[in-house]
Each structure stands twice: as C-alpha cells, then as structure tokens.
C-alpha cells in the first residue's frame, strides 16, 4: 500500500510541476497575474507530494518491504537501521528521487523566501525550475521507478553495497545533490532574466545568496566524498582524478567562477552576460555530472551496474536543457547589453582573468574526462587518461590563479595603479618569497624537485594568507577606533571572502605536505613484526575474529608508537559481508592535526606464522585538505548571511546596487 501511495504522490507531483512549468511562464509574458500567482502554490504543493513519495520510500526501506524491487536489491533485514535509511538514496532509483525531491525543496524555498521579488520574476524562476523538475521526474517514472514491485517477494534482500555502509556515504550523496540541484536556482534566475530582459545589479543580488548556498553544499559534498575515498577505499589517496570525481569538480570550478562573477555584477553592474552564461554552464555541468555517473558510459572505479536506456534519456534531457538555454542566451543576451567600464588594471579585470582560468581549468578536466569516451565512440581505441594529465594541466593554471586571487583582494574597482598595488602588497610579497625560498630547506629538503614543489606550494599558501591580511589592514584604515572595532565593523561578506580564501591556503598546505612528505609501505607482517614509516612504528600483534550485524570481520591489532613511546592501538578490519560475499577493507587511522597514521589489512598469507600483507601510511597534514574545504564552506555561509541581503530588500527599487558603506569608503579613499 505504502509504495503505491508513493507512486501516486509522484504522479500528482508531476501534474503540479507541469502546471508550475507552463502557466506561470505564459502568465509572466502575457501579464496575467492569476497565472503567475500559481507558481508559489504549485511549487509548495509539488514539494509536499515529492516529500510524501520520498517518505514512502524511506518507510519501505525501514520496514524491509522486499516486495519493492529497489528495497530487495539494496537492503537486508540484518542491515542496521541507519543504513536502511541511507540505502534509500544509495541506489540509482533512490538517488534520482532524492534529486527531484531536492529540486522541489529548493523551489519551495524560493517560493517562501521571495516575498520581496517582483511577481513576474518569481513566476519565471519557479516556472523554469518546474520544467527542469518535470524532465527529471519523467526520467524517474519512466526509466527508474523506485517503487517497482517484484513477485514472488524474496524472503531476504540483497543488502546494500558494503562500500556504502559507511557514515560518509550517508551524507555524501545528499550534500552533493543539494549542490548540483541548488545551481538550478541560479540557472532559473539566469533564464528568467533572459526571458524578462531584466538583468541588473538587483537581479545579481537576488541570485547571489542562492548560488553561494548551492556552492557551499557542493563543496561539502565533494569534501565528504574525498574523505570517504580516503579511508574507505583503503588506497590512502584523497583525489584520484577519477571521471566521477571530475564530474563533481567541474560544476564546482565553474560555480566558483560564477559566485565571483556575480559579485562583480552586483557591485559594479558589469559582467552581466558573462554571469548569465556561467549560471547556465554551472547547472549544465551539474546535469552532465549526473549523466556521466548515472548512465554508465564512464569506465570508473566508481561505476555501478547501469542501464543504457537511462543514459539515452538523460542525454536527450541534457541536450534539450543545454541547447535550449544556450539558444535563448544567443537570442536574448545581446539585448541585455553591457554597462560600466573598467581599466586593464582593476579588480574587475583580475576577477575576470581568474574566471577565465577557472573555466579553462574546467575545460581541461572536461577534455580529460570525455576524451576516452570520444575515442571509444569513434572506434579509435580504448584509452584512459590518468592523473599525470590532470596534474600537468591543472597546476600551471592554478598558479597564476592563486597569484591573482591575492592581488584581486586588494585591487581597487574600476582603476588601480601599479605603485599603489605595490604599496599594498609589498609586505605580502616579501614574506611569501622568504617562505617559499627558506621553508623547503628548513624542512630538510635539498633535491631540486622537492624544493620546487614545496616552495611553490607553501609560497602560494602564504601568498593567499598574507595578501588576505593586507586586504584586511587596507580596509581597517577606513574604520575609526580600536582594533576590535576594525575587526567587528567589517561586513560579513568581507569575512566570508577572507575565511574562504584562507581555506584555500589551508587546503594548499595540506596538498603540498601530503605530496611532499607522505610515506607508504606494503609489507608482509607476522604477529610481533614491526614496520616503521615517517618516524612512527607499527607493531602487529595478531588478528582476532569479530562479528558485525551483517558481516564477519577479522580484526588486526597494531600498536602505534613513536620513539619507543606507545601512542595508541589501531584496529583495521577485513570484513566479509554475508549477502554479497564481498570482502571489505576497513582502514584504521590515527588522525591528528599534523597528520594521519594509517594502516589497512591486505590479505592473509598462507604460512605457518599467520602473516598478513599490510599497508601502512604516514600522511602529514592530510586533515588540512578537508579543513580547508570546511573553511571555504564557512566563508560561503558567512558571505550569504551578509546584512545587505536582508536589509536592502526593503528599499529595493531596481536601482543599481548600493555597495555597503565600507566599500563606498574604500572606493572614495
């Protein structure tokens, strides 16, 4: 009964979304206010039914209703409750339902937090989101129905893929999807602007917080995915340039360009056309990401068994959305026009250059990801493009980007002069150079290659930190009073930028340290053996059996010590899941601020000493990689909660934006 209610709710949601995607749009172009007014109600109604459907699916998983194919394939009576719940989005069908559900959630949020927007705008934005929802809901209902029944009903389910039975996997897909789907709001705002011909600073201010929030979700989603791959796959890496990872990185790169371009559009009224194009691209790449992952066209360590019919549907949908929106862009963008001028040396041009670098970086990732697919489709051989390609291309693009990131934080809008820039940045430049040259030697590196790597990495990180500080002191000059006042009187959007940029620096420090100092060893160990890596000693004490709810495990015991002092015991496991007969490695990690000690069990070796093959790692500063991502997210949230997004709404009259008082001072200074 419950699955049928879910199915029925999906159909009702589809009907409401069909209304949401048509009448308000027509109403907005014809000026029929009754039709425009439908957008909010339908969005909220559709969300109700989508939530109901999602609730029904979760319920089916909780009560082990194996008459539902999706539940039978992805759950098991022995599966712990929390994983039965997360299994609802662990499968293909469930994850698409979550996608549509989240689109409903975002639409509903727009309908609630858009009281101050013109009715026409709301109608268009929700109308576009309704159309996107219709496409994905049709995909769900026609090719991947999560409520399909199975007869005869199996007595037991096939269990969730053991890799997904993990805390990281409970959160990773919803966060990532919230990001992907959240960019639909920016997309809808862009399309609405093109349709209505209204594209000004006010428009940018409306879409900015939504875009930033989506970007925050995407950042967290990628972060959790990376962290999961690090500890769960047992390979000790945090990024593999795997096609599926790239699929999430591409919208992130363009989304990052978008939030910066939106900033320029809001503050200066320029970059409008560019911003609209970026908004279209970001969402298109989010859809492409979903397509790449869900269609099974990629050879990927992440790929799961898939159905080609689905690929065709998403590909068609993708073509319609991207083709349609780009065609609209081509017709309408010239009408939107350009405004505002700036010189080559200005904050606008620095931000623009960085936008271009981010887009090019995204383009190279796209090329590396799709190139094997093209060659295969043209029958020119089967290839894979490995991490060396991405590293060789990505780093040279990021170096000038990081440099400009520091510069743009202190450059004036409109027109800057070199001597003035030098005055503002000289201390940052000097400190950065000293760190870049001296630090690698202090850390005991002498080979040219590792000196270059460390110098470049730490140099970039310190450049960001010192130039961000320079930017703060620059602003602080225009605030009277004590140092505390200077700190507290800066707007939240400034602190948002500051924290996010520091996050990038922390991230780079993590990446550089891991690359420069990580140590790894694969060894054979009998009980009593020791192995040393990175100054730490692991002593293997033997294995014991332990049973989990749905698996048997062999648990190894390792004593971790440094300089003869015991730090702690580590318990890596080798699990065998009943339902899948699939072995799983659970690494044991001693995590700390300055690095991780990581041990995982390989396989038992058939000898009389009960040895195992064992992999041990020392990963200095690896946690900084994720800490950096968390800081970036916090920065985004801070910027989103800037006062002007709430205060300014009341005096919103469609005039170009009023820059916050502090930036007025800065410009006038």
């Amino acid at each position: 009964m419950i699955p049928e209610i879910g199915q029925f709710a999906l159909i009702l949601a589809l009907l409401l979304l069909a209304v949401q995607g048509t009448l308000p749009l027509v109403g907005a172009s014809k000026g029929i206010s009754a039709w425009m007014a439908l957008s909010r109600r339908t969005a909220q109604g559709a969300f109700f039914f989508l939530a109901l459907a999602f609730g029904c699916l979760v319920y089916s998983f909780i009560v082990n209703d194996f008459s539902v194919l999706n539940v039978a394939n992805n759950s098991n009576t022995k599966l712990p409750l929390i994983y039965r719940i997360s299994a609802s989005w662990g499968s293909h069908e469930g994850s698409i339902l979550v996608w549509v559900f989240m689109l409903g959630l975002w639409s509903c949020a727009v309908s609630i937090f858009s009281k101050h927007l013109p009715e026409e705008m709301v109608a268009r934005v929700l109308g576009v989101m309704g159309l996107v929802s219709v496409g994905l809901l049709l995909f769900l209902l026609l090719t991947s129905n999560p409520f399909d029944r199975i007869f005869p009903v199996p007595a037991e389910g096939r269990d969730l893929n053991p890799l997904l039975q993990d805390p990281g996997m409970i959160l990773h897909p919803p966060m990532l999807y919230m990001g992907y789907v959240g960019f639909s709001v920016a997309f809808a705002f862009a399309i609405a602007a093109l349709l209505g011909g209204r594209l000004d600073a006010t428009w940018a201010r409306w879409s900015r917080p939504w875009t930033t929030l989506a970007w925050c979700f995407l950042t967290v989603g990628i972060l959790i995915g990376s962290w999961w791959a690090y500890y769960e796959l047992g390979w000790g890496g945090w990024w593999f340039w795997d096609p599926v990872e790239n699929a999430s990185l591409m919208p992130w790169l363009v989304g990052t360009a978008l939030i910066h371009s939106l900033a320029v559009t809001e503050k200066r009224g320029t970059f409008k056309v560019w911003t609209v194009l970026l908004a279209i691209c970001t969402f298109s790449l989010s859809l492409l990401g979903t397509f790449l992952v869900r269609s099974g066209v990629l050879t990927s360590v992440h790929a799961f068994a898939t159905d080609p019919k689905r690929g065709m549907f998403i590909l068609t949908f993708l073509a319609v959305v991207i083709g349609g929106s780009l065609a609209l862009f081509a017709f309408r963008a010239p009408k939107v026009g350009t405004a505002g001028t700036f010189k080559i040396l200005s904050r606008e041009s620095a931000l623009f250059a960085n936008n271009v670098l981010l887009i090019v970086a995204c383009g190279t990732v796209l090329l590396g990801t799709l190139y094997p697919l093209f060659l295969d489709a043209l029958n020119l051989g089967k290839i894979s493009v490995g991490p060396p390609y991405f590293e060789a291309v990505f780093v040279p693009l990021m170096v000038p980007m990081i440099f400009l990131m520091g510069v743009s934080a202190v450059t004036r809008w409109k027109e800057a002069t070199l001597p003035d820039l030098w005055t503002r940045l000289r201390w940052a430049a000097v400190v950065t150079l000293i760190v870049a040259i001296v630090l690698p030697f202090i850390l005991g590196r002498t080979s040219p290659k590792s000196v270059a790597l460390l110098g470049l990495g730490f140099g970039m990180a310190f450049w960001i930190i010192t130039s961000a500080l320079a930017g703060f002191f620059d602003r602080a000059k225009y605030v009277e009073g004590s140092f505390g006042a200077k700190l507290t009187r800066q707007p939240r959007s400034f602190w948002g930028m500051f924290v996010a940029h520091i996050g990038v620096a922390v991230f780079i420090i993590g990446v550089t340290a891991v690359k420069g100092f990580e140590a790894e060893r694969d060894v054979r160990m009998a009980p009593g053996d020791t192995v040393s890596v990175g100054g730490y000693t692991f002593r293997f004490e033997g294995t014991a059996n332990r049973d989990g709810p749905n698996y048997h495990a062999t648990r190894g015991t390792f004593e971790l010590s440094k300089d003869g002092k015991t730090i702690r015991k580590l318990y890596p496991e080798k699990r065998m899941y009943f339902a899948h007969g699939m072995p799983m490695t659970e690494a044991a990690i001693d995590s700390g601020v300055f690095g991780d000690r990581y041990v995982s069990l390989g396989e038992p070796i058939n000898d009389d000493k009960q040895s195992w093959s064992v992999r041990v790692y020392h990963k200095p500063f690896v946690t900084w990689i994720w800490a950096g991502c968390i800081l970036m997210t916090l920065g985004g949230l801070l910027a989103m909660f800037d006062r002007r997004y709430r205060v300014s709404t009341r005096r919103d009259t469609g005039k170009p934006s009023l820059p916050s008082s502090d930036s007025v001072k800065l410009e006038n200074a």
């Binding site: 796959l233 360590v301 190279t364 089967k382 390609y389 060894v523 390989g602």
Partner: protein
C-alpha cells in the same frame, strides 16, 4: 568569451580609433598566445599520460606496445593465482577466453580481485612477455564489469563463433 568582447568593445569606444585598433590587436594577440599556451599544455600532457587498453588477444598478436605502459583486461583465469614466497608478489593470468597473458604484481590487491572475475591491470610487458603490473584496478560492485573487459570478452566470443562456423 562574451565578457572579453565586452571589455574590448569598451576600450574601443573609450579611446580614439587608431589607438583602439592597436589595442584590439593587442587583445587578440594576448588571447591567441593564451589559447596556444593552453593547447600546447594540454596536448603535451595528454601525449604522455594516455594509457591504451588491449585485450589478451591483442597482446598475443603483438598489437600492444613494447616498453610503454598500457592496460590489459579480462577475467582472472581460474586456478592461476599464485603467491610468491615474499607474500606480496602475485602471479595470475588474465584471459579473454581466447588468449591469456601472465601478469605479475607486487603489492596489495583490491578487495574484489578474485579468480573468474573481471580485472584491469596497468603496467608494461617485459622481455619474456610477462606483464609487469604497477596497478590492479578495483571495481565497486560485484555486478559491474568494466566496459572494456566486457568488450574484450565479447570480441573473443565473436571470434570463436566465427571459427566454429568456418569448421
């Protein structure tokens, strides 16, 4: 791109006609240099990091390169997995049911590595025709067969079907 035009056009209208034409050429030149640099970077990086995939049949027909890394994929032949005395070196055969290639790998194998299951290994052929693997790739789902492996198996199957027809 459009914003780039935006800036060019702005500079055009802002300054005199001859000066602006020079400026436009300057912009186009800068853009071209940038594009050429990116293309060179990409091509260079692609050239050195593309790995081709070959089936065991391809390898036996000497289609695979000598001295350059590539990938070979198929099924792990049943009963072929042997461990070396050090406990870390593993010998196994990869087959597409028509031909087999011997593979040596030192290190820890992925969890889903098993006999009669699909596998993709990356490495080089040595002088004795043994594939020295540097990486053995995992998959995430026991139902999943890498498309290349599936293609290699289908290819071998088709070839054998053609053989039987001839006889």
């Amino acid at each position: 791109m459009s914003a780039e035009q935006e800036t060019t056009q702005e500079t055009v209208t802002a300054s005199g006609s001859i000066k602006s034409r020079h400026k436009r050429f300057l912009w186009i030149a800068v853009g071209l240099v940038f594009v050429v640099a990116i293309v060179a970077l990409v091509l260079n990086a692609l050239g050195s990091s593309i790995t081709y995939f070959y089936s065991p049949t391809d390898v036996m027909q000497n289609k695979a390169p000598q001295g350059r890394a590539f990938r070979v994929g198929g099924m792990v032949e049943g009963g072929s997995v042997v461990r070396g005395t050090d406990g870390l070196t593993v010998y196994f055969n990869v087959t597409d049911t028509a031909e087999t290639v011997s593979v040596v790998y030192t290190g820890i194998l992925p969890d889903l590595f098993a006999e009669e299951k699909g596998v993709v290994a990356q490495g080089k052929l040595d002088d004795h025709g043994v594939f020295q693997a540097t990486q053995v790739l995992a998959k995430h789902d026991e139902n999943y067969v890498a498309p290349e492996v599936q293609a290699a198996l289908d290819e071998a199957h088709k070839a054998r079907a053609a053989e039987t027809l001839k006889q």
